[in-house]
């Protein structure tokens, strides 16, 4: 654990905690901001991908000769244009990816493994010629039996996706390959003993559907490779350094040869932490000698980019009649898609994390099937496991006649709690969020007929990681702030506020920019709710560096020692009257003196940030169930979550609101639907229905602030936790409105109606 730091005096802050206009606001409301698909280069070609119509097939041959002969076609690439890669895991956001698998996901090799799997790509002088060329590519497939469902895929007789996949994490190691890539287990205490002490035990099995991140901007990039091997890539991504690393590896380039620039990014939520089009565009550009632009259609986004796992979740919880939980057990089976690497590990770690329990046993299975490879989605893995656990805790509270907030309070994790997955918690916000939920007027507001109220809590770790910042003091004393984390939700605002706070200058004097990969050392991606936490930590270090240099310049100018100069309110001042009678030197003054005192000035930080504090939240939701249609309407919604310290409260609230509404979609509507041939049936926004403005009410927010002791301002990541509680909170609210406890997501109108009809037919509630 990193050392605790002295917390800043929160009463004397100028910028942190205020709500200035974001620096990229005007660009974005005028349409000037340039996103992934908005760049065009002279002589640019248009690239498109041919995708498999089969869920599982051997790729016997690919004949591209007719496509190559079409006038206007400048390059075609297939598996033959990419080298095979050894099995090696590297981090992508909170998940790990394997190069052997990335190269196969980017372009199918021996087999196609899902509907939409890339088989070939062309670059042509126009998009319409590229589309025509795709139709001329002849692919000979030998169709194989496929498997979509996670439990089907686990059966010994299931169609095998990879004949070299042997389950890791079991003893003895299996001799036969299977679709189970990995088994993980976290244990604390003795669950058998715990269940023995319980007065009540509830066990349930839940199914959750795979859901897509649903960013409105499809994947897009422009690649340009020169004859000398120097290359540039413009891309919408959560991490351009990560993209650079993956592409350089896959194309056998030196990292220095590839410069990657992150465009403005139109949403990611974890889904833009991996590569799909980028290596293909580089390969096409290399082959054709011209820049190549590639943009996915919405259909391609659904069929071929990562949703998160669907899963089967078995939960068993035992409690005493006073609500004390004596044991928790959970079995998680997560779909990984066509290649291993579902978020089952973080799912297993988070399952019981909001609680202080003595006996916990969580086991998780990472299972491949003929679906697109999953990618991270906001708190990857946690919403699935915590959904099951929260539903069962709610049911226990009902059965013993306890308030659902009280049972959580009784078992809440707190400072010093030993988590089943390893650490002892520092100060965390579970109890504060519950207390504020209980005190909120939402919790005691009256409910009408067919209405119900539910609550649930959620936990996410958050991360730190490699983070670099350069702060250039310009000739006029303004500041250029270079960071390396793409800004998806307004982080440039928070980062410039922190720089202004530390330097003691106006926020308007700070111009934040996302540097390209050649302009700042390696910086890990925007993910794990780290951009503001890690970014502000690095800015605090960089500011100190800049301030020390400016103090040194003032000392030189006054001919005193640096110890005799302090930095206060954006000025260098003599440390005491004994030092001498000098007028303070502002940052402008020092900038003007820079050349005569040694040259330009900058502050830098290149660090691996540690100590991200977990964030816990509690949600309250009211629903009304339409007994005629089965439609569940969200009437009122309140999010109460620990932010440690909100740097820009508007964007913290925005994270709470956006996460909650994504969770509402997960709870009520979103799912992947496959036909009998393993083809995705709802690859568009018409049939994959994300919440629209008329589906939801205002989302009230309460920012709880339990400072993170390793950050000088107490900042925690906030972006992911808000998607964790909604599914269980809505489940509990529906149960209160109808008496029916659903165990399957989404709780869509047809399913709700069917359950209501069945309950009516059996003449009572369950």
């Amino acid at each position: 654990m990193p050392d605790e730091v002295k917390l800043n005096d929160m009463d004397s802050l100028n910028w942190v905690g205020t709500r200035p206009a974001r620096p990229d606001g005007v660009d974005k409301v005028t349409g000037k901001a340039r996103f992934g698909a908005d760049l065009s280069l002279p002589g640019m070609l248009h690239g498109r991908v041919l995708r498999s119509p089969h869920a599982h097939a051997i790729l016997k041959s690919i004949d591209t000769s007719k496509a190559e002969a079409l006038p206007g076609v400048k390059a075609v690439v297939t598996r033959d244009d990419f080298n095979d890669m050894p099995s090696e895991f590297v981090p992508a956001g909170e998940m790990m990816v394997n190069y052997r698998d990335i190269v196969r996901n980017v372009m199918a090799r021996e087999k196609v493994l899902y509907d939409g799997h890339a088989v070939a790509a062309v670059a042509a002088t126009s998009a319409s010629i590229a589309r025509k060329a795709l139709k001329l590519i002849e692919v000979d497939y030998e169709v194989l039996p496929h498997v979509i469902d996670v439990e089907e895929a686990m059966k010994p007789e299931a169609p095998l996706l990879h004949d070299d996949l042997f389950t890791v994490g079991v003893e003895p190691a299996p001799k036969k390959p299977s679709n189970i890539a990995k088994v993980v287990e976290f244990k604390l205490g003795d669950v058998e003993k715990g269940f023995g002490e319980a007065d009540i035990i509830v066990e349930r099995t839940f199914n959750t559907a795979p859901v897509h991140q649903g960013y409105i901007e499809p994947h897009a990039c422009v690649a340009s490779v020169n004859a000398d091997g120097l290359a540039e890539l413009w891309v919408t991504t959560q991490g351009h350094y990560v993209v650079r690393g993956h592409c350089a590896r896959m194309l056998g380039m030196d990292i220095s040869k590839l410069k990657v620039t992150a465009s403005e990014i139109g949403g990611g939520f974890g889904g833009k932490t991996v590569v799909y089009l980028e290596p293909v565009a580089l390969a096409l550009s290399n082959k054709s000698g011209a820049p190549v632009k590639m943009v996915m259609s919405r259909e391609e986004v659904f069929r071929a980019s990562g949703p998160t796992s669907g899963a089967r979740v078995y939960v068993k919880v035992g409690a005493k009649s006073d609500g004390t939980i004596t044991a928790g057990h959970c079995e998680l089976k997560y779909q990984a898609g066509a290649f291993q690497g579902s978020p089952v590990q973080p799912g297993a770690m988070c399952a019981f994390a909001p609680y202080d329990l003595e006996n916990v046993d969580v086991i998780g299975y990472d299972v491949v099937s003929n679906r697109p490879k999953v990618a991270a989605y906001r708190a990857p893995g946690a919403p699935i496991s915590e959904f099951g656990v929260e539903c069962v805790i709610d049911e226990i509270a009902k059965k013993i006649g306890m308030d659902p907030l009280d049972i959580r309070m009784k078992n809440a994790a707190k400072e010093g709690t030993q988590a089943a997955y390893g650490p002892k918690f520092g100060p965390i916000g579970m109890i504060s969020s519950l207390e504020q939920a209980k005190a909120h007027d939402h919790y005691s507001a009256p409910l009408g007929e067919n209405q119900g109220r539910g609550v649930a809590s959620g936990f996410w770790f958050n991360i730190g990681g490699e983070t670099c910042v350069t702060m250039n003091v310009n000739e006029d004393g303004t500041v250029a702030l270079l960071t390396g984390t793409p800004d998806i939700g307004g982080s440039r605002a928070s980062l410039s506020m922190m720089a202004a706070e530390e330097l003691g200058i106006d926020v308007d004097k700070v111009r934040p920019m996302i540097a390209d990969t050649a302009s700042l050392p390696y910086t890990f991606l925007t993910g794990g709710s780290r951009a503001t936490f890690a970014g502000t930590t690095a800015i605090i270090h960089a500011s100190k560096d800049a301030i020390d240099k400016m103090r040194a310049r003032a000392a030189q100018f006054w001919d005193v020692s640096i110890d005799e100069v302090v930095w206060e309110n954006g000025e260098a001042r003599p440390a005491s009257t004994n030092v001498g009678d000098f007028d303070p030197l502002s940052i402008e003054d020092i900038a003007k003196l820079a050349n005569s005192t040694g040259g330009p000035i900058s502050g830098r930080a290149e660090i691996n940030v540690q100590g991200a504090g977990p964030s816990i939240g509690t949600h309250i939701v009211d629903v009304e169930v339409d007994k005629e249609t089965g439609r569940v309407e969200i009437l009122r919604y309140t999010v109460l979550q620990d932010a440690g310290k909100a740097v820009h409260p508007s964007y913290v609230e925005g994270q709470f609101q956006g996460g909650a509404v994504q969770g509402i979609g997960w709870a009520l509507n979103e799912e992947y639907i496959y036909d009998d041939n393993g083809r995705l049936e709802n690859a568009g926004f018409l049939d994959y229905r994300i919440p629209v403005a008329s589906d939801v009410p205002m989302i009230d927010t309460v920012i709880v602030e339990v400072p993170n002791p390793v950050h000088p301002y107490g900042v925690r990541g906030v972006g992911e936790t808000p998607i964790v509680p909604p599914m269980a909170a809505i489940n509990a609210a529906i149960e209160q409105a109808t008496g029916i406890r659903f165990t399957e997501l989404p709780m869509s109108p047809p399913k709700v109606l069917k359950a209501l009809d069945e309950a009516a037919a059996s003449g009572g509630d369950d």
């Binding site: 319409s128 403005e264 949403g267 956006g658 919440p691 589906d695 205002m698």
Partner: protein
């Protein structure tokens, strides 16, 4: 297939272009005229990121053919501000933090402006239903709706 010659007006400026018969108005705006403020989120009329006005009517430009703009008046996000002066909606979106990634923002602003031009006193429900064709995945809509209602109040001088 020969290209089609189109004469039209875009954001008040007389404009001519050549387009392929299969190109949508969105394709033309983005790829031929370099007006990339209108976004493509789906190309099927389901997300509203490509919203523009054609002869005063709010449309998804991905559902209009480029050739159909002949003789019409097209307004896009690029024409919304008056020089340096932002439209009140644009300013309120910044003030209310009504955007996170901002990719839905141009379409939502164009659609919201169309609403306020015909109804300067909409209820929250009316704003929500009017904007139901404009998907936003980041914000949960709360701050967007507040920004539109606040702009309406300001326009009314309330």
């Amino acid at each position: 297939m020969p290209k089609i010659h189109v004469t039209t007006t875009i954001n008040g400026d007389a404009t001519e272009y050549l387009c392929e018969p299969e190109q949508t108005l969105l394709d033309v705006l983005r790829d031929e005229l370099n007006l990339t403020g209108s976004k493509e989120g789906c190309s099927s009329g389901d997300c509203g990121a490509c919203s523009v006005m054609v002869d005063g009517r709010l449309v998804c430009s991905c559902l209009v053919m480029g050739a159909e703009a002949e003789g019409r008046e097209v307004e896009t996000i690029e024409g919304m501000a008056d020089g340096e002066a932002l439209h009140p909606l644009q300013q309120k979106f910044i003030d209310h933090a009504a955007l996170q990634c901002g990719v839905c923002t141009p379409g939502i602003l164009v659609a919201a402006k169309a609403l306020l031009e015909q109804n300067d006193d909409p209820t929250e429900t009316e704003v929500r239903y009017w904007l139901a064709g404009n998907l936003c995945r980041c914000t949960g809509y709360d701050k967007i709706i507040r920004a539109v209602l606040d702009t309406a109040a300001e326009i009314r001088g309330a």
